[in-house]
Assembly symmetry: C2
Homo-oligomer: 342 residues x 2
């Protein structure tokens, strides 16, 4: 495959974008938390590159939050990526990315994850990224707000993205052994370049078969750079209002125990399925930075089932299944009896 080369300063520009994203997110989160401060560790990787990890612990809002920037290089990409990008075989590779996971204290506040990344390897280059929300208690308005904000960011570049990246996110953040999505999703994309398929997931029908078929946005380097900028910039507006709305709610041991239990699913996803975690561990990344996504305290309970009709059951039955958050009117009827609206 012949790919138009990226701009001469592509690495610098993406690095600047992603470091700026890390800076703005950290500043916004410190302002929101009011007490917690990020501690920064810079690190170098023996094979080339390095990063700056920032972790906030025991804040007012956040029990733990990590925002990591990295820029790494190496001789050979791991097999999991070469399978998707055989043209990269035998070429030095470069990758830069910013990733974030926040674990709030309050069980009413959702965990949230974001990652935007860029690769170059010989004749090929591509963009990937996304953001997804994992509530512990169901609030329809929060899921809708998160999706609407991300959809707005995607649409600002091209309306063809969200209809594909939303179902792709549901597909990617799926725990097969539980039959559950990680949460209410968001957007996910990978291997984005001008010529290739918009959807490159596992489903042979593909999200494009469901929605957005035929709409393939132009994806030159500039458009994909703009997409990362728009979606990355949408993070604070997608999440901060949720925290502001729920932060005053009191909670008790029941909610805390359910939160700790559900955090177990987060660990299971990240260690068994997550592409970024596996890439990091396979490429001799900095373990502490890779695993800062894991929650500070987690509980497993054998054969737990939530009480029928409870909010915990609604979370499990509705908020860990793919839903058309922005279009399905029946969600309101299902959520309203549980105080899960507004």
């Amino acid at each position: 495959m012949t790919l138009t080369p990226p701009p001469a300063d592509s690495r610098q520009r993406m690095k600047a974008l992603l470091m700026g994203l890390q800076d703005s997110i950290c500043a916004g989160l410190e302002a929101l938390d009011g007490e917690g401060r990020f501690r920064e560790d810079s690190w170098e990787r023996p094979e080339g590159g390095g990063g700056r990890s920032r972790v906030l612990r025991e804040g007012r809002i956040f029990e733990q939050g990590g925002v990591n920037f990295s820029e790494v290089e190496g001789e050979n990409l791991p097999p999991s990526i070469l399978g998707q990008r055989p043209e990269a075989e035998g070429h030095r590779w470069f990758a830069t990315g910013t990733s974030m996971v926040l674990h709030p204290r309050s069980p009413w506040l959702p965990t949230v994850h974001l990652n935007y990344r860029y690769f170059e390897a010989g004749p090929v280059w591509w963009f990937g990224g996304g953001a997804d929300l994992t509530p512990y208690y169901p609030f329809l308005e929060d899921a809708q707000h998160f999706h609407a904000t991300l959809k707005g960011a995607c649409d600002s570049v091209d309306p063809g993205y969200y209809p594909v990246f939303k179902p792709w996110c549901d597909e990617y953040f799926f725990l097969k052994h539980r039959g559950e999505t990680r949460g209410v999703g968001g957007i996910f994309y990978d291997y984005q370049e001008p010529g290739g398929a918009l959807y490159r997931g596992q489903d042979p029908r593909g999200p494009a078969a469901v929605a957005g078929a035929g709409l393939t946005p132009p994806r030159d380097w500039e458009a994909l750079h703009n997409l990362a900028a728009a979606c990355g910039g949408a993070f604070l507006p997608s999440y901060v209002p949720i925290v502001e709305r729920r932060q005053g709610l009191a909670w008790g041991d029941r909610e805390r125990q359910f939160q700790l239990y559900r955090r177990g699913r987060y660990v299971e996803f990240n260690l068994v399925f997550d592409r970024g975690t596996i890439f990091g561990l396979q490429t001799n990344g900095r373990t502490e930075s890779i695993l800062m996504s894991l929650p500070p305290l987690v509980r497993w309970e054998y054969a737990y089932t939530p009480e029928a009709g409870s909010r915990e059951a609604l979370l499990t039955d509705l908020f860990t299944r793919p839903q058309d958050w922005l279009g399905d009117g029946s969600l309101l009827e299902r959520c309203a009896p549980h105080g899960a609206v507004g």
Copy 2:
């Protein structure tokens, strides 16, 4: 490869052995705990077979303990096993096993794991198994007792086993991304059959290069059955005296926090590396039974390092590295200043 067929009643005999092992272990642990009782769930697997899972929660000694028996069948083994046993391709397979993980309440008591299993698939059959100990605080005598008991069980069948299975255990229960063994090890073996190599791990030199070279015990079906019986039967004598010796020691928040932190390593190993967990999830096993190995409460802490010279540092530096527990006299000198002897 032509393999002598197993006895006509091989499946029944292994099933009886492994169910009997589950029974005797559960009875011994209930007697030891004095308060906790195992709850049993029987389950069936859609593709064939099933099992009985037993879980004890919130006992006096055990925060959680699971002892699982299963007997499952299927059309095709997963690729991870076919790579080691290409002769099984295209044949129905049968597997039976008993596995156990115990998470004690007291940080002075080690977590312990055991698994013995037997496979048949077309023209091939093999045995696997082992047991390993994961202390949270270092006690040299406990590591020595555990190893000496398992060595005795191996030696009762053939003295050629322990010198190979001990280093194989250190190799298998290794967290690459941490540069640590899971604990002080024990024994591990897999793919045992009459004709094949005694050692079938990943190290190209192999433990046999280190010790026991040339000693290849006869391994007909009966000998391997006897090995599983001897090692399985050695579990209670290998572990119960450790609990009896340490159960009266008081502990505080410092010890509890370190225990919860180290439990994180157990989760990382089981979800990223463990062959049994991956096999179970790949073959559509019962998720709750597979993941009952995960600790009930776990903590992660970014960039934690134990204080130099502390018992926590001794655990990390000495008890998560391969050691010759039964032969290296210098261990005593290193442990004694920390109250980690006797």
